[in-house]
């Protein structure tokens, strides 16, 4: 008998895309498509339970074992460094973690660089590897405004198409890491639900290469 798999999915378009992949892989749960405010959906026949959670929280649910598996952006994994297995790159939700600044920006090495970001850990790690002295300004959204208002010299943020940057007269200076959605698993769940998780990984990997 299959063991119940608890799956944390990121709320939003990416999560819906991921659900379709899981459905194809033999874990359907039709009630998830109903329009309502429910957050947990279960299909006992297929031994699966889905939760919709905030994308940045998926890794926490998985690391703490509330979910056995989940799908999280690489940005979240780099930022929080959860103790999990990263079993597959789903090759969807692709974008870049990048440093961006005003078009006329020139780095002045004699001064501390002011960096505005939602991703303090990634920014700190990147500049530490460069030996650059920085001041991190942690913001929770609309990061692009920071250099325009003179709050920061640069920003470290996710860049998808670059349209927002362009419209705000900013440009990418450096790509720190490519980002995409990753299939992650709780370390203990992986031991005790090995067959279910491995079969799912194989199926998803196949779907990823087919696309």
């Amino acid at each position: 008998m299959k063991q119940m798999l608890n799956v944390a999915l990121p709320k939003g378009r990416l999560g819906e895309k991921v659900y379709d992949m899981f459905e194809k892989a033999g874990y359907p749960c039709p009630s998830i498509k109903e329009v309502n405010r429910k957050l947990i959906f279960e299909n006992e026949n297929c031994s699966v339970r889905y939760f919709w959670v905030k994308p940045s929280d998926v890794a926490i649910y998985v690391e703490r074992g509330a979910a056995d598996i989940g799908v999280a952006g690489k940005d979240i994994l780099l930022e929080y460094e959860p103790d999990i297995y990263e079993l597959l790159d789903l090759n969807i939700g692709k974008c870049n973690m990048a440093v961006a600044a005003k078009k006329d920006f020139r780095d002045d090495n004699s001064k501390t660089l002011r960096v505005a970001t939602k991703f303090s850990n990634i920014a700190a790690g990147y500049y530490l590897s460069k030996g650059r002295d920085i001041d991190i300004i942690h913001l929770n959204g609309s990061i692009e405004i920071a250099p325009i208002l003179g709050l920061s010299d640069v920003i470290v943020d996710i860049v998808e198409t670059g349209t927002t940057l362009k419209e705000n007269d900013l440009k990418v200076i450096k790509i720190i890491a490519p980002i995409s959605a990753r299939f992650i698993a709780n370390k203990a769940s992986y031991k005790f639900k090995f067959n279910e998780i491995e079969a799912l990984v194989k199926n998803l990997a196949q779907q990823t290469t087919e696309d």
């Binding site: 690391e63 297995y85 079993l87 031991k191």
Partner: protein, 370 residues
């Protein structure tokens, strides 16, 4: 007391592990709560978490509340290549919790084997690790890896020293996509990368794993390392609970050879962790060898233990007109069989099976909840 007063889950486990270690002749090692700070500043990476609670002692020396037990045991035991010391401990350690970023007191129980370590000592420690897990839960897995095998495989791939930490990190996450990408950036031949990928993919019972390993690593890893590893694991009685899994990658600056992590169903992360740490011994200017493990009792709080339905079996409430002698006699008689709480007022916020009200020197009412 003659009643049946159950121990808490953690207390039960501590008792059973202590008697397990005693039965193998390991002796209890009791140590002071404090250690010189210097010991930790020299071996920072060995510690599980950053941050040590430090204070200045009355003589001006900088001291620390222990964040780790192994370093103190190594420091305080005599070096011997001819003899072996088998010790166990049950101590509180003080570490920074990753989630709250605050210091936490964590009860740890574990054992260390120091001195002339041979295959049998490693086998015995693995046996005790398995038995310890069995004491904690009926469903458990011991993941065992071998850092010497990993190191020799990375040598075969000619991975430069400065990139090894990242490669090992990918192995620890079973992150094959990044591992492949990284090897390609380091110009490792695809054929060699595939050997490493296959090694990371090994996850299963020891018999199948060794069959694969012997074919995969022929001519890549020293035969004696593979043979000794196989010999130790296949001699374990409980090897059905063992999985060979190379994602157990402790810091190679301290650990070497066999390393392992134990998981139980219901706890989100490993509850037991250990391995050979000859490299740490060398760093501490010791030429003898060592192996040990610790059980993290804080992880056991995740286990589904049903909460107690009652705080106490019986509550006796009394008034000022009741004599001491009558109260004592009534309570003692009940205590023969159950737990009794005496209160000179109403029992507020207490869950009880039975409430006995004594007024003016006699039992006036009995309420039962059971």
């Amino acid at each position: 007391m003659t009643g049946n007063f159950p121990l808490k889950q953690n207390e039960k486990i501590i008792f059973s592990l202590r008697s397990l270690f005693d039965s193998y002749g390991y002796s209890m090692y009791k140590m002071s709560k404090f250690e010189e700070y210097d010991l930790y500043s020299k071996n920072k990476e060995f510690l599980v978490s950053d941050g040590v609670i430090a204070f200045t002692d009355t003589n001006g020396k900088l001291m620390a509340l222990k964040p780790d037990v192994t370093l103190s045991i190594v420091k305080n035991t005599a070096s011997s290549k001819e003899a072996i010391q088998k010790l166990y401990y049950n101590e509180n350690v003080y570490r920074v919790s990753k989630s709250s970023r605050n210091f936490k007191e964590i009860m740890q129980i574990g054992l260390e084997c120091i001195g002339k370590i041979d295959s049998f000592s490693v086998f015995e420690v693995l046996t005790l690790a398995l038995k310890s897990l069995a004491e904690v839960s009926s469903r458990y897995v011991l993941d065992v890896s071998n850092l010497d095998i990993l190191t020799e495989t990375l040598d075969f791939l000619a991975i430069p020293k400065e990139n090894r930490a990242e490669v090992l990190h990918c192995i620890g996450e079973k992150n094959l996509h990044r591992l492949t990408e990284l090897c390609s950036q380091l110009n490792v031949e695809d054929k060699k990368t595939e050997v490493l990928r296959q090694l990371v993919l090994i996850n299963g019972n020891p018999d199948n794993a060794f069959e694969k390993l012997n074919i995969l690593l022929k001519g890549i890893v020293s035969e004696n390392i593979l043979k000794e590893f196989e010999n130790i694991i296949s001699s374990l009685d409980d090897r059905k609970s063992v999985k060979i899994d190379f994602s157990v990658v402790d810091d190679i600056n301290y650990y070497n050879g066999i390393v392992f992590k134990g998981f139980i169903e219901g706890a989100p992360n490993s509850v037991l962790s250990g391995g050979c740490y000859d490299t740490l011994m060398k760093k501490m200017k010791r030429s003898d060898r060592a192996i040990g493990f610790a059980v993290y009792l804080d992880m056991l709080e995740y286990l589904n233990v049903l909460p107690e339905k009652y705080d106490v079996d019986a509550v006796i409430t009394y008034d000022e007109n009741t004599s001491l002698e009558f109260l004592k006699k009534t309570a003692d008689a009940l205590r023969e069989k159950e737990s009794v709480l005496l209160l000179n007022g109403e029992p507020v916020g207490i869950r009880y099976k039975k409430l006995i009200k004594i007024k003016n020197g006699e039992v006036s009412d009995i309420e039962t909840n059971a």
